[in-house]
């Protein structure tokens, strides 16, 4: 049901764009106004969300991430899984962001041989995620050819590597295929595994269908429903130099592609896709586990008037000594007495 709803939502978006452009002729709406709104919503929403996160206090250094915490010198600690230094945190964050370490550690619980519970590693989700995210990154960077003039060298380089197989004209990019395959896997996974389907919501399916729609329209535009690419770049350059002008004769499918991308951008800050930023801001990952070495004070604690034992003893030392109670620090001998002796 959730999946169907999401699919219908994406198809409705497609229909909206087709109707708007083909029937309504609203080119400047779909080609100029919507993209501007989308990017403003994206950046504004994103900053708003990040500031919101930044304002929430982090109550604890969470000491139970994984691996052995740094404690006594003769106990081996996990330097990177449970880092206590800034450098360790840097490594852990890099592993997390670049290699999805937490996902890599994913295990699967199974009941084997009738009654035995077993835990085994499962790497499929990790592989799907890696394939999806990296191909998305490559596709994102590849698209800079429509957004920059002159085109930076790394975009050309990436295109050459991506189109290395030289299949077809224009060349079919490997990442197009990987992206599509990975998305398909991530979707099928949600649909096919009962437990995962049970916990999947509309906001899990919607981005998947949205991305599938973007990929489909993109591949169609590149390989099957070709249109005036130069005109498209003129449009984007106009947009980003704030002199928007609609170029005539661009196929409506391009506007569908653009509209879906705009939807993604506008939807982004208010969705689970914010893990793009969240991964940098998750306290279980980005804080050093040094609570044994440094005292972290809970930021919202009411100020407590502390009166330590040392202070107490300072206040009452003489009386304590007089009463014959043991004290940590002996009272200083009085200078006068010392002279007499």
């Amino acid at each position: 049901m959730n999946a169907v709803l999401s699919l219908v939502a994406v198809l409705a978006l497609v229909g909206l764009a087709v109707l708007g452009v083909e029937a309504g002729g609203l080119y400047s709406l779909f080609g100029v106004i919507v993209p501007y709104i989308a990017i403003v919503l994206f950046l504004g929403g994103l900053i708003f969300r990040v500031l919101g996160w930044a304002k929430s206090p982090v109550p604890f250094r969470i000491p139970t991430t994984c691996g052995q915490q740094k404690s006594l010198p003769w106990i081996k600690s996990s330097k990177y899984d449970n880092p206590h230094t800034g450098f360790g945190v840097l490594v852990r964050m890099a592993l997390e962001i670049l290699f999805f370490r937490s996902l890599f550690r994913n295990t699967k619980t199974q009941i084997a041989e009738g009654d035995k519970v077993t835990y085994g590693p499962t790497k499929w989700l990790w592989m799907g995620a890696i394939a999806f995210h990296y191909s998305f990154l490559v596709i994102f960077i590849r698209h800079l050819r429509f957004f920059t003039e002159p085109i930076p060298f790394f975009v050309d380089l990436l295109q050459t590597v991506d189109g290395f197989m030289q299949v077809g004209v224009p060349v079919f990019y490997m990442t197009s295929l990987i992206f599509f395959g990975a998305l398909g896997y991530l979707l099928l996974r949600r649909l096919a595994i009962p437990q995962v389907r049970y916990i999947s919501l509309v906001n899990d399916y919607f981005p998947l269908f949205l991305l599938l729609g973007i990929a489909t329209t993109g591949i169609l535009l590149r390989h099957f429903v070709k249109t005036d690419v130069v005109g498209i770049k003129e449009l984007t350059l106009g947009l980003l130099s704030f002199q928007p002008a609609i170029t005539e004769g661009i196929h409506w499918l391009f506007y569908v592609h653009l509209f879906l991308v705009c939807t993604l951008l506008a939807y982004f800050p208010f969705s689970k896709l914010m893990h793009l930023i969240g991964v940098f801001m998750s306290p279980t990952r980005n804080l050093a586990n040094n609570s044994r070495m440094v005292r972290h004070i809970n930021p919202w604690n009411a100020p407590v008037k502390v009166h330590t034992y040392e202070e107490y003893e300072d206040d009452f030392r003489d009386k304590m000594v007089a009463a014959g109670l043991p004290v940590d620090k002996q009272p200083e001998p009085k200078p006068a007495q010392a002279e007499k002796e």
């Binding site: 900053i47 050819r145 920059t148 003039e149 224009p170 690419v229 130099s241």
Partner: protein, 126 residues
């Protein structure tokens, strides 16, 4: 705000990256750049319509290749009935005499690097 310094620096880097196309293109001063094609002087009609050629010329060339190499048919009958020899170097480049001012203009503009010219000869020299 907690760790305000780090958050603001992070956000600034993110915004800078996202707006890369804007400042990069504006800094290069070529935002208004458009490909300027040198059109053939004595010919006004390409083998097919301008719109079709704009979008589909690469497929046309690909099909030409298949027809000429695999089927041994080297004459293309256009939509309007006119006939052309299917040859990139001899037919296309006969009118579009300057590859740099025709092919490369758009290809460079949208970052397309066709490998046609690895083998096919530009009669006017590379």
């Amino acid at each position: 705000m907690h760790d305000a310094g780090k958050v603001i620096i992070g956000l600034a880097i993110f915004v800078l990256l996202i707006t890369f196309p804007i400042w990069f293109t504006l800094a290069s001063g070529k935002a208004g750049h458009r490909p300027e094609l040198e059109l053939p002087k004595n010919e006004t009609q390409c083998v097919e319509s301008k719109e079709y050629m704009k979008a589909w010329h690469m497929d046309l060339l690909n099909d030409w290749r298949d027809a000429a190499v695999r089927d041994g048919k080297r004459m293309y009958v256009a939509e309007d009935g006119k006939k052309y020899v299917m040859s990139l170097s001899l037919t296309c480049l006969k009118c579009h005499t300057n590859k740099a001012k025709f092919c490369d203009e758009c290809h460079n503009y949208v970052g397309v690097v066709p490998y046609c010219w690895d083998c096919h000869v530009d009669p006017k020299g590379d």
